[in-house]
Amino acid sequence: MLLTDEEKRMRDGEEGAAVAAAMDLLVRYGEALGAERLCETRNVAGTMTQPSPAKARLVEEGGWAKAFAVINLDCDDDIDIPRMKVPTCQLQHGFGPDARGLTGYPDANIELQRDAEAYYSDKGVNILATCTPYQVGNLPVRGEHCAWMESSAVVYCNSVLGARTNCEGAASTGAASLTGRIPYWGNHLPENRFGTHLVHTDVELATFAEWGLFGYFVGGAVGEGRPVVTGSWAQPDLADLKHFGAAAATSGGVELYHIPGITPEARSVEDACSGRAPKDAAGYGPRERQQVYERLNDQGSSTDVDFVLLGCPHASLEQIEAVARRLEQRKIHPDVELWIMTPPALRAAAARSGYDRVITEAGGRLLTDSCPAMSKAAPDGTRVFASDSAKQVHYLPAILGIEGWFGTLDECVDAAITGVWRGQLGGR
């Protein structure tokens, strides 16, 4: 792989052992990918603070420098960790203090994470603590090279913002944060950003739930392809596209999609495909919609819901407001917990706007930093949950061994109030 003089200097240790280790990892990684060179980035979104048993042991052995070296740089040497070279944010991690006592999540993890936040913020990491950094200030511009992880953030970054990132990991983002470099490969190359699959929808996409169902279908249909969507839809908002991309990244490996007329690199189908006809096509009609709905809902048998989860990816302020509107003057069923996951910055705005109070008075909770899938914890005794997130309904049955229902926001709020799942395809 070709390195610039500056990159060679970093590799050879002129900026210290940690930067050298970071460059060494980037070279090994880039060469294994077949990248010809690295590119510069000034926008890294990664994870250092997420507690895990392996990390706890490394911290015990050698502090956070050891944990960063091993996990974020793939380096076993005892090295000092300098400040991050380029702007770097912490994505979602484990539950914070606001979840203490709500679930079987260990207090030790909350403490470990708080300790990590103190260490890494001293190193220049912005503790955004969310899977949606673009909702709270990390908003790359079109064409910008980024090094992001978190599949739903990656697909949003590429598709909706038109910035460029591959689906990175804890180690590659750690190396990028200390060097300002990432392999110039995959989604960074303009020729790799054109559509590979046409997906036509005969179902009009008009609601958040429909965008989620369609996204789950698209991921299953194209795998890691780059779908170009045709059909008709009402003007989507941030939440619709966030949900669509997250679902497509969950059921397949979609990192980039084009919605002609909506997303920045696709003024038209021809534009999205660079004039070439995509070789594969898939159709989404009422039958496919039914199948996707049934597949998502085949992890549920009991309709006695004891947990309702909203906000995956993390809820926007508008989504929080929508929940608050539905909960005014109402009470959540005493046997049900309702959690809405959101970034800390938006929780602060929700509190100032009065939504937090309405939701809390009804018996629900706004929680930050994490989600049940990341922290592997739901309210104690949860057997059956419901969510408006295709991603959570996909993951939680595996991660927590609980049953799951997917439906609309109205159906989820209804389940929270009645304790009964009454969702059906096309429901309100």
Partner: protein
């Protein structure tokens, strides 16, 4: 270079939500390898799917002593390649013929990451 029994999947594997690093087991309920342990075997699979936590979860298998012995997969992605690097196991990708249809679970396999050669030692 590594030599051991193969565990073959024709389905892509999730890291986050797909494996339990503490036990080295596939935990995705719908997966054909659900409940199977990959510790100490040659994991043969089409590629990575799902979350970007893939590499970190497989790295955790190394740190917790539950890692596969080697990996053989078809599709080169950032997730799977970074995962193989931080798991620090011999890995061969993009074989001439599809190893997920050629090999069977239990076959004794040698993975030579230097030459890129994957050999079945006990093919009938």
């Amino acid at each position: 270079m590594a030599e051991g029994p193969a565990l073959v999947s024709t389905e892509e594997i999730s890291g986050f939500g797909g494996i339990d690093p503490a036990r080295g087991v596939i935990i995705e309920p719908r997966h054909e390898l659900f409940g199977q342990c990959f510790t100490g075997v040659v994991l043969v699979f089409p590629g990575a799917k799902g979350s970007s936590g893939w590499a970190g979860f497989f790295q955790s298998t190394r740190l917790m002593g539950t890692a596969p012995l080697a990996m053989v997969f078809n599709t080169v992605t950032t997730k799977a390649v970074l995962g193989a690097i931080v798991t620090r196991v011999p890995t061969v990708v993009e074989c001439d013929r599809d190893p997920t249809s050629l090999f069977r679970t239990g076959n004794r396999v040698r993975v030579d990451a230097d030459t890129g050669l994957v050999t079945v030692l006990d093919d009938e």
